[in-house]
């Protein structure tokens, strides 16, 4: 299997104190870990690509760990997560799909078996393309206060033969969440949904 070649890594940390309403006692934090890797399948159609998922696992875990470190080092503060990929123009969307397993499982494993599916998005794009990474609660997808997203991107990536991989973690609800729905305090945590 091809080796994972990383050109660049970026970490972005946002702290949100308010959004026009009262200043919150504990600011919401969102962090994104991005890695720009060479796309081993760029420029040609390959039938068998699934093996690359295995190769991406160590990188996924490393990125997930860097997110936890960025949020203070304690996995217990993580309440929301999401993932995504931008495939450079010499690749196909399916190459971005290779990130589902290694990206998602890395975070769920690190967070102690988080129950909810990791929300995701992907696209093909050029350098500077922005990705709105969707975010949901780590144990129950229906927690409405934690439906969120974080925009991320890198000015010079992905180049045509690259893939930009993204993982995102957050420490809580939207800063002024008030549209009802299932609350984080009501999560049963059995099926990953409620």
């Amino acid at each position: 299997m091809p080796e994972v070649q990383v050109r660049k890594r970026v970490v972005i940390i946002e702290e949100i104190f308010h959004e026009g309403g009262p200043i919150v006692a504990k600011p919401l934090r969102r962090a994104a870990a991005l890695a720009v890797i060479h796309n081993p399948y760029a420029g040609k159609y390959e039938t068998e690509i699934a093996g690359f998922m295995e190769d991406l696992k160590p990188l996924g875990l490393e990125m997930a760990k860097s997110l936890v470190a960025s949020l203070g080092g304690d996995t217990k503060v993580v309440e929301g997560y999401g993932k995504g990929a931008i495939v450079g123009q010499a690749g196909e969307l399916e190459h971005g799909a290779l990130w589902h397993v290694p990206g998602g499982y890395a975070m769920r494993e690190l967070l102690g078996g988080a129950k909810a599916i990791v929300a995701s998005t992907k696209k093909v794009g050029g350098p500077g393309t922005r990705l709105d990474v969707p975010i949901t609660h780590i144990n129950a997808s229906y927690v409405r206060s934690h439906f969120d997203s974080m925009e991320a991107g890198i000015a010079d990536a992905p180049r045509a033969d690259e893939i930009l991989l993204a993982l995102v973690m957050t420490t809580g609800a939207r800063v002024h969440a008030r549209v009802g729905g299932l609350k984080a305090s009501e999560v049963k945590g059995e099926d990953g949904l409620r």
Binding site: V6, R7, K8, V11, E15, R130, E151, A155
Partner: protein, 194 residues
């Protein structure tokens, strides 16, 4: 604190390879940004002292965060830069008031010497406007390997009545510098230029 901060964002980038050649150790840049309320939005005010004082506060706050993101001691920083984007109800002069009179002193206090002018840029724009923060060596502006720039953006800022203020700090120059000029080991460090 005078500054009314809605949000803070920190960016850290590492370049591991360029054109397939390893960059060892990786070059690293960090930027820290604050989204603040513009106290003078929507009206002409002659005396901009308040924004100058906010600049002084942000000089230390943002530099501390950028240095922390790099995980280095302040004096180990090699280059720096600053920039601001004013929301549509503000003036370019508001960015100037934040950036120029008082922001530099606390930056230099944290980074050690800082004999060179801190390169800067400013603009007016809407949410998500990219900010290209110019970078130059902190002790000798003519060090050619350290002429650089770092793009950042915050998708929801600046709103019309806000200012996005950013400081970038690096522990290195460009990834594979080879266009000659003054090198960092030739710095005299007397006049801030060479």
């Amino acid at each position: 604190m005078k500054a009314k901060i809605r949000k803070m964002v920190t960016f850290m980038e590492e370049t591991h390879t360029e054109m397939g050649k390893p960059v060892s150790p990786p070059t690293r840049r960090a930027a820290s940004a604050a989204v603040i309320e513009n106290p003078f939005a929507g009206t002409f005010v002659g005396d901009l002292t308040e924004l100058m004082e906010i600049g002084e506060e942000l000089g230390s706050l943002l530099t501390e965060r950028a240095v922390a993101a790099l995980g280095i001691a302040g004096p180990s920083a090699e280059s720096y830069g600053k920039a601001a984007a004013v929301g549509e109800n503000g003036e370019l002069e508001h960015a100037a008031a934040v950036l120029h009179p008082k922001l530099g002193t606390p930056v230099r206090k944290i980074l050690g010497k800082g004999a060179a002018l801190i390169p800067s840029s400013k603009k007016r724009g809407g949410p998500g406007v990219p900010l290209d923060i110019p970078l130059g060596h902190k002790d000798a502006a003519f060090v050619r390997s350290h002429f650089d720039g770092m793009e950042i953006r915050v998708n929801d800022a600046p709103r019309a009545n806000e200012i996005l203020v950013a400081i970038a700090v690096t522990d290195s120059g460009r990834p594979l510098p080879r266009v000659g000029g003054l090198t960092k080991d030739q710095i005299k460090g007397e006049d801030g230029l060479r």
